[in-house]
């Protein structure tokens, strides 16, 4: 855990105005990172804002119990992921009109991706990320989707750059294999029809 995270946690645990101040700083720092993570799944900016709000309510409630067994970002990543999926599950029951935001763009030149929509690929990509352990997924999220450098991720998570690189490399190969398998399987199914 970074010293910055530790100070925030100590402040929040102490309570009072210092706690509120610490929580505000934490929200400004982690808010944008978690928002991107949510938007990648929902593709809906309004819904993503609402979910992020809920995530921070949960964070405020549970932070005093956070034991620091993982990095703060990894812990927040897990809360955000679970909360997003829970809310989406409930949202599906309602008729929800949303303005979809493009999250990825397909660059031509790969046989497995040909004839596939960006939305379809994103669904597979999200499923692939979901299959990773949370720490690996968190690193992949920051590096691949949010374009942070390893140095910046080191500052965010407090994990060494070497460990981050190894983690990212493993995550990337797992995701590539997952995508390749899924897309080829779909291709095979459609050719049968």
């Amino acid at each position: 855990m970074t010293d910055r995270d530790k100070n925030w946690l100590d402040g929040i645990k102490a309570g009072g105005s210092a706690g509120q101040q610490a929580f505000e700083e934490l929200s400004i720092f982690y808010g944008p990172k978690l928002y991107s993570q949510i938007l990648k799944i929902t593709k809906d900016p309004t819904l993503s804002k609402d979910i992020l709000q809920e995530v921070f309510i949960k964070t405020w409630l549970h932070l005093p119990k956070f034991e620091g067994r993982s990095t703060l970002y990894s812990w927040l990543y897990r809360i955000t992921h679970n909360e997003t999926l829970n809310i989406l599950r409930n949202e599906k029951k309602r008729t929800h009109v949303s303005l979809s935001q493009e999250v990825i763009e397909i660059i031509p030149g790969h046989s497995s991706l040909e004839g596939r929509s960006a939305e379809e690929i994103l669904t597979f990509l999200n499923a692939a990320v979901e299959s990773l352990p949370h720490k690996q997924a968190a690193v992949f999220e920051l590096k691949y989707f949010q374009h942070y450098t390893f140095k910046e991720i080191e500052e965010i998570t407090g994990t060494s750059q070497g460990a981050l690189k190894a983690s990212y490399h493993i995550a990337k190969s797992k995701i590539s294999s997952f995508l390749h398998l899924k897309l080829n399987h779909c291709l095979l199914e459609s050719s049968k029809l």
Partner: protein, 166 residues
């Protein structure tokens, strides 16, 4: 053609449009306020739930008590036992031996005490003597025979039940 290893190179993540900085700076305040509101609502709701559940519990208890009062089993009086006056003693003994398991100890004691009461009533009415013998005949017999039946005995030495044996 590209291999599966560089498939990610063909998927380019786009930088999302981010909300304004104000949104992120107000996140914490909103979260803290909302959490307090939710907490208040929850405690208000739990108080209402507590009132309702207490009322329901009270109604249930009253209902159970009233139900128990009305559903007390009525002590059944067996009509199977024939009138003892018309039945001979061996018949009664035989009947009891055959049907002993059908009756509880309490039932047998109750029935026995009814019979005993009837016998006592008969005795108290002083009609236990045969019709051809009068009370005066007995008195004269005692005086003629010079019997001093109770002189040597203190009646109070006898148990009340012993005196009732004739």
């Amino acid at each position: 053609m590209s291999t599966d290893k560089d498939i990610l190179k063909h998927i380019k993540p786009l930088k999302p449009e981010m909300p304004s900085d104000d949104f992120f700076s107000s996140l914490a305040t909103k979260a803290m306020r909302k959490e307090q509101k939710q907490h208040k609502n929850t405690s208000g709701k739990s108080r209402i739930i507590l009132y309702y559940s207490s009322a329901i519990a009270a109604i249930l208890i009253i209902g159970i008590v009233v139900f128990q009062q009305f559903s007390m089993p009525v002590k059944e009086i067996s009509t199977k036992i024939p009138s003892m006056a018309n039945v001979s003693t061996p018949e009664i003994v035989e009947y009891v031996e055959q049907h002993l398991e059908n009756y509880t100890t309490e039932e047998i004691i109750d029935l026995a005490s009814v019979v005993l009461d009837e016998e006592i009533n008969l005795i108290s009415e002083e009609n236990f003597l045969p019709e051809n013998i009068q009370f005066t005949d007995i008195e004269s017999y005692i005086s003629e025979e010079e019997l001093e039946l109770f002189e040597d005995y203190d009646l109070y030495e006898f148990d009340e039940n012993e005196l009732l044996i004739f």
